[in-house]
Subunit: 331 residues, 2 copies
């Protein structure tokens, strides 16, 4: 794995599409149709691209691992199908969500089938330069990362509706729910390329900090202008409507006088449903410095992510990893 | 793998319990608690026992594969957690189902976590005598079997409420939904022991026919006496209540005069809710010969299963596989 092949974002997007249609062919079968709806047109492909970029930065051959990258995106998409079911979200990437378009039972079974299909795929696609033992380690890592993400989501369920849970509980939850996925993605690349433990750990930290930064950015999304919300391609107020813990609200609660706290409690659920209450909530969060506070924490995690990249070999790929962390900051 | 170790049902049940508590320790974590509730006390452990029995019958060492057998049961249990969510069943194995005891969102995420955990486990537990390549094949087989089962369940969803779908559509559905799991279980044992293709195929057919027989037995359960229904440990009328296609009803519809068909349409949904309508339905099914007809088909599949065992080496383990098929017949 010493001569990295060029594997651009465009090349990967084309490969992703081709592979997805191989796995879920256009043959009228209801499961194939459901999976294609969930997977195509594709989202930003953040996780697989991060994985391939890490591979390249560590001197591996991203082209060889493209099928694994597709499977990582498949797992992530399966979990989104189940998330939309949990949250009752009717839209995803500007089209009906799988539960809205196919039904709740179908979304549940379809997500399960996708999970199983992509685990099978991780085992079926043999990596010549890597060897079967390391491939087994890879599958074990993907599986245990999935467990961690579910643990984070279950913790989030316990915090749901509790505006007093505090930012520490929030960070513990987000570290599992969101950051574990990017941490695992980076670790998977380190594992496949046989990176030294210190390098693997630095890259894992990069992924974790990046994941927390992404989550905070998502939390800030409802308070941004229409254009930014549309660009995100997901229902930005779903978290508020579902009373999920989000950083700006929790920061505001920590800073609020009793009267402001009462207003927050009243506004948060209503802000998930209508623009007027959202406007009032935005003004109150700004007044309490919670939007600036959350943005500051976001920057801190993004900077921490970039800092950890010093452990990697300098070069174009490391620069792209640093740039990815910067795009989160200038959200 | 030439000297099979003794590994009795009791030994396996103890191992299953110990391993389950290792994987989901009693530490107060909500996911661990949910998984233990789903997995312990255990069910009949049909799938892992069938797997170990097939291993032994093919000259393999069941003791070495016990961790894989636990993972197979884990996958099956995860799918039951999701099934109870789909069907709204409040009870499983004489205790509250996971959705009833922990909530719908928790059941969804808990089932996902269990699926991921046991795929990780299939990769983490290294089989000395088998080699990593074959272990990857094993994971691929488990994953693609899972996809097949979901396809069968999705087909069942399409047939739901359609009393005229016919027994052919029913058998196609059951072959995927139920029989694919036992077929895959038997194939997995053949794969691990490196059985000759003809032997593997015969054993796979045995598993498939056995699976169909088990499903027909389940379908006949609501019409049996209280003792038999209790022994099954699951809500026997859930399929009727949920208007799922079941063989006795479909056979009856194929034989019914228009007036009887109208009565069937009226009775089936009500039989899922109350004992009186169930009594009337039972009498009508008997009158139309549908209960005898279904029992005859059950026997036919069980006999087919036993017939395919001729391809296996004679001995105690083959006898136990034959006995398993006989226990379904004398249901």
């Amino acid at each position: 794995m010493n001569s990295p092949q060029p594997f651009s974002d465009d090349q990967f997007a084309r490969y992703y599409r081709r592979r997805t249609l191989e796995l879920w062919p256009e043959d009228g079968d209801p499961l194939d149709r459901l999976a294609r709806h969930a997977l195509l047109p594709q989202g930003k492909l953040l996780r697989p691209r991060l994985f391939l970029l890490c591979m390249a930065a560590l001197g591996g051959d991203p082209g060889q691992a493209a099928a694994l990258a597709v499977a990582l995106e498949g797992h992530h998409t399966a979990s989104l199908v189940h998330d939309d079911l949990i949250d009752g979200d009717a839209e995803r990437r500007g089209r009906p969500s799988v539960p809205a378009g196919f039904g709740a039972t179908q979304a549940l079974l379809g997500g399960d089938a996708m999970l199983c299909r992509y685990f099978a795929d991780l085992a079926e696609h043999r990596l010549e330069g890597v060897g079967p033992r390391r491939q087994l380690d890879f599958i074990a890592l993907v599986g245990s990362t999935g467990v961690e993400v579910c643990r984070g989501q279950l913790l989030e369920e316990r915090l749901r509706g509790d505006l007093d849970c505090g930012t520490d509980a929030y960070l513990a939850m987000v570290t599992m729910k969101t950051a574990a996925l990017l941490r695992g993605t980076c670790l998977a690349a380190a594992l496949l390329t046989g990176a030294a433990p210190a390098v693997a750990e630095a890259l894992a930290d990069y992924g974790e900090a990046l994941g927390i930064a992404f989550q905070i950015r998502d939390d800030l999304l409802p308070y941004r202008d229409e254009g930014a919300r549309r660009a995100a391609g997901k229902p930005s107020r779903s978290d508020l409507r579902n009373l999920r813990p989000t950083l700006p609200v929790l920061l505001a609660m920590e800073r609020a006088a009793p009267r402001q706290a009462r207003r927050l409690r009243r506004l948060v659920p209503r802000a998930g449903r209508g623009p007027r209450a959202l406007g009032e909530l935005t003004a109150l969060l700004r007044e309490l410095g919670a939007l600036d506070g959350a943005a500051g924490l976001l920057r801190g995690h993004a900077e921490r992510a970039r800092g950890r990249l010093a452990a990697l070999p300098a070069g174009e790929h490391r620069e792209r990893l640093a740039a990815l962390a910067r795009t989160v900051e200038v959200f």
